[in-house]
Symmetry: C2
Subunit: 456 residues, 2 copies
C-alpha cells in the first residue's frame, strides 16, 4: 500500500471530507487543505496531513483533487497570489476537478494553467460526482468523468476508491459536467415539485404520510421525492443541502439554456421557486424548506396532515397529485434530454447514467426508453394527460394554491394539443423542444366594426 | 326630473356607492341595499332610500342595478330564499349586471329568472364597468354593455349617468364581460409586472422615483404602472383594491384559457404571483403590495431607493428595466388579443376599447395597430428583443432576483427564435398563440454508445 501515490485534496466540506477519508482508508497518502481548521484537524486524526494553503498542499502530490463549492473558489484555490496551487504543482501532476461547474469551466482553467502559467505538462480531468454526503463517506459516489483516456486510466485507482459507479463520458473535457448539469436540472426540479405536491396534499386534507408511501410504490416516484419528503413529514429542517446552493446550480442550468437558445420552461420556473425561498429568508435552510413558499404561514402543515383520515375526496386528490408528479417529471425528463442533446450528450448516454443517479424518476425511465425506441405514440395520450392535469389545477385554484411547475407543464401540454399532437403519446412532447420550424398559417383576424363608443 | 324612473341598487361597495350617488345627483330615485349598514346610512343622507333586503329593494323599481363582488353574491342577491330580488321584480323590469363575472354567467342568471322562476318578462343587460372608485364617484366610468339593442336604448340614460364612455359590444349578452375579461387580463398583468420591475430597480440601486418619471414619459408605460407605482414609492399600502380580488379575477381569466384550450402563459404566471402574495398573508392588502414577493424582508426598499444617485451602471439598468416592461406588455397584449379572438371578440373591437381603459399600455397600442394592419415585420426584431431581455435576466440572476413574468416572456421569445421567426417584428409573436400546426421534423436523436460504466 505504501507505493500508492500522494494525493492532495483541496476542499474538505461535507462531501470532500468523506472522499478524502475514504482515500486514506484505501491507503493513499492524503494531504488536505481547507479554510475550516476543524476539517483539517479531523483529517489529521484520520491519518492525513494538513497544509496551510493550496500551494503547500499540493507540493508533493502527483494527483490534485479539487472539491470546492464553485468556479470562483476553484480559481482562487489555483491562482491566488503566491498561495495558489498553480505555483507548486509537481511535474506531470494530474488535476481532478470534482466540483460541479459550468461545462466550459474545465477547459478554461486548463487553458490558464497551460498558457498563463506555462505549465503544459499538467493534465486535467473533469470528474463531477453525485450521491450526497453519506455515499461520499462510504466511497460509493457516482462519478462522471471526461478527459484524455490515458489520463483517466492513470487516475482510475483514485476514482475507484471514491466511487461505486464510474461513468466515462465521451466528448472531451467538460462532457462529464454536461451530464452532471442535466442531472442537476432533473434533481432540482424534482425537489421543487416534491414541495409543490406535498404542500398541495396538506392543503387538500390528504394524509401526507400515507400519500408518501403511495408515491414510493408507484410511477409518481422520484429519487429526490423519496429523499426529501421525509424531512417535510417530520419537520426536520437540518441544513444538509442549502437552498442557496440550488440557486447557483439552477442558474448554471438556465444559463446553458440561454447560451444554447433552448427555452427551459420548467427549469426556469424552478429557478424562481428557489429564488423566492431565498428572498423569504430561507437561503441557508435545507432545500425541503422550499415547501414554505407554498405554506408560508404553516411550515409544519405537511407533518400535521399525517394525522388526517383519508376521505373519498382525499383519495381522489391523492390520485390527482400523483398524476401531477408523474406529468411534471415526464416533461422535466424531456426538457432534460433536449438540453443534453443541445450540449452534445446523446439520449442513450443520458438514459443509462441518469437512471442510476439523483435525477432519476419513474417517469424519466419510461419516457426516455420510449424516445430511444422512437415510440412517440404509445402510452396515455397528451390530451388525456392534459385533461387530468386540468382537474388538479382547478382543485388547487379553489384553494388559492399556487401551482408553479404544474402550471408551466400544463401550458406546454395545452400548446401541444393545439398543435394537433393531442392523440400522440407523451414522448412526442419532445417536439416542443426539438422542432425548429413553425408552420405559419395565415393570421386570422376577425374584422367587424362593432364598437360604437358613447353613442348608445 | 320627477319623471325619472325608480332605480334599485344592490351592492353599495366602494364602486357601487359612487355610482348610486351619481344616479341620485342626476335626479333618479334610488333605493339601495347592502349588508353594510353604514353604506345604507350614507345613501339615506345623500337622498336615497334604504331597503332591508334585495326583494324589498327592487319592489318599485323598473331598473335593478347589481354591483356585488362576484357571481356567488349575485346569485344570492337574486335567488336567496324569500328575500331574493327575483321574488319582487316588477313587470318588465330591466336588470343591469355591472359586476365583473365570467362570460357565461349573465346568460345563466337570465335563464334561471326566465325558466326556474317563470318570469320571461324580465330583461337583462351585461354592463361591466372599469375605472376605479374615483371615476365611479364622478360618473366617469367606462361602461361596456351588451344585450338586446332596444333594451340598451331604454337603459341609456341610466348608463350615461354613471359612465363617461359607453361601449356597446356586439355578440349578444355576455360579450361585454368578454371584453372586460380581456381588460382584466392586461390590467392585472401590468400591476404584477410593475411590482416585478420596481423591485428589480430598487435591488439594482436605481433611483426609483426618477425611474418612475422616465417610464411615464416613454414607451414602457402602462395605465396600471402609472397608477400603482406611486403607492410603492410612498409606502402607501391603503387597501383600495385588495390582492384577494385579483386572485378571483385572474382565476376567471385563466379558467377561460383552459375552457378554450388556449395556453395563457403570462396570465398563468401572474395568477401565481397573486396567489403567493395571498399565501404570504397579504390577501387583504393593496395590490401594490405584490412587490413584497420580490422584496419580502424590505417592503420599503422601493421608496428608500428614491434617494439613490444614478450611477452609469444604474442608468443602463434603468434602460434594461424599461425594455423589460415594454416587452412583457407587448407579449401580454398579444396574449390578450389571442384570448379575445378565442372568445369571439375582434381585434378591432378590443383595440378601440382597451386603448381607453385600465388595461392599456403603450406597447398594447403599438402592437395592436401592427396586428390590425397585418404588419408582422416592422419594428425591432424578435431576436433583438430576446437578446436585450437576456441582459436583464442575467443581471437579475446575479442578484438572485426572481423575475417571474420576464422569464415567462423570455422563454416565449426564445421559442419564437428557434421557430425561425427571429427576423420578424414583435407582432409576429401572435403566431405563438394562433398557429395550430407544428411542422414536425423527424426527431433527431444522436445515438452513439459512449457509456462504459465502471469499466474505466
Amino acid at each position: 500500500m505504501a507505493s500508492r501515490p500522494n494525493v492532495a485534496f483541496i476542499g474538505l466540506g461535507a462531501m470532500g471530507m468523506g472522499m478524502a477519508v475514504h482515500l486514506l482508508e484505501d491507503g493513499f497518502a492524503v494531504t488536505g487543505f481547507d479554510f475550516n481548521l476543524m476539517a483539517l484537524e479531523k483529517l489529521l486524526i484520520m491519518g492525513g496531513a494538513a497544509a496551510a494553503n493550496p500551494r503547500e498542499c499540493i507540493q508533493d502530490a502527483s494527483f490534485v483533487i479539487c472539491m470546492v463549492a464553485n468556479s470562483a473558489k476553484t480559481e482562487k484555490a489555483f491562482f491566488a497570489d503566491s498561495t495558489g496551487a498553480v505555483f507548486g504543482l509537481t511535474q506531470n501532476a494530474i488535476v481532478i476537478l470534482c466540483s460541479s461547474v459550468a461545462p466550459g469551466f474545465p477547459v478554461k482553467i486548463l487553458g490558464r494553467i497551460h498558457q498563463d502559467f506555462q505549465r503544459p505538462d499538467i493534465q486535467l480531468l473533469d470528474c463531477p460526482v453525485s450521491g450526497g454526503t453519506i455515499r461520499a463517506a462510504r466511497g460509493m459516489l457516482n462519478i462522471m468523468s471526461s478527459g484524455p483516456t490515458d489520463i483517466l486510466n492513470i487516475a482510475q485507482p483514485i476514482l475507484e476508491s471514491m466511487g461505486e459507479n464510474l461513468y466515462e463520458i465521451e466528448g472531451g473535457l467538460s462532457a462529464a459536467n454536461k451530464v452532471k448539469l442535466v442531472n442537476q436540472h432533473l434533481a432540482n426540479i424534482h425537489i421543487a415539485v416534491s414541495a409543490e405536491a406535498m404542500g398541495l396534499a396538506a392543503t387538500l386534507g390528504v394524509n401526507t404520510k400515507e400519500f408518501y408511501q403511495t408515491v414510493l410504490k408507484g410511477p409518481a416516484c422520484s429519487c429526490m421525492f423519496e429523499a426529501r419528503v421525509p424531512h417535510m413529514l417530520s419537520n426536520d429542517w437540518t441544513p444538509h443541502s442549502a437552498i442557496s446552493i440550488f440557486i447557483k446550480d439552477m442558474r448554471m442550468v438556465t444559463s446553458q439554456g440561454i447560451l444554447h437558445h433552448l427555452p427551459l420552461y420548467i427549469a426556469s420556473s424552478t429557478e424562481r421557486l428557489y429564488q423566492y425561498a431565498a428572498r423569504m429568508g430561507y437561503g441557508k435552510d435545507h432545500d425541503s424548506n422550499l415547501v414554505r413558499i407554498f405554506l408560508p404561514q404553516t411550515p409544519s402543515l405537511v407533518s400535521e396532515a399525517t394525522t388526517h383520515c383519508q376521505s373519498p375526496d382525499a383519495s381522489r386528490a391523492s390520485e390527482l397529485i400523483c398524476h401531477l408528479l408523474e406529468t411534471v417529471h415526464t416533461l422535466a425528463a424531456i426538457e432534460a434530454l433536449a438540453l443534453g442533446n443541445k450540449l452534445g450528450i446523446s439520449t442513450s448516454t443520458l438514459t443509462s447514467i441518469i437512471s442510476n443517479v439523483a435525477g432519476v424518476s419513474e417517469s424519466f425511465k419510461k419516457v426516455a426508453s420510449q424516445i430511444l425506441a422512437g415510440d412517440l405514440l404509445s402510452g396515455i395520450t397528451i390530451t388525456h394527460t392534459r385533461n387530468k392535469l386540468k382537474e388538479v389545477i382547478t382543485l388547487a385554484q379553489m384553494h388559492n394554491y399556487p401551482l408553479q411547475l404544474t402550471a408551466t407543464t400544463f401550458n406546454l401540454l395545452q400548446k401541444a394539443v393545439t398543435y394537433g399532437m393531442g392523440g400522440e403519446g407523451q414522448a412526442a412532447l419532445l417536439k416542443l423542444w426539438t422542432t425548429s420550424n413553425l408552420s405559419t398559417e395565415p393570421l386570422h383576424i376577425t374584422e367587424y366594426d362593432s364598437v360604437t363608443p358613447s353613442e348608445l
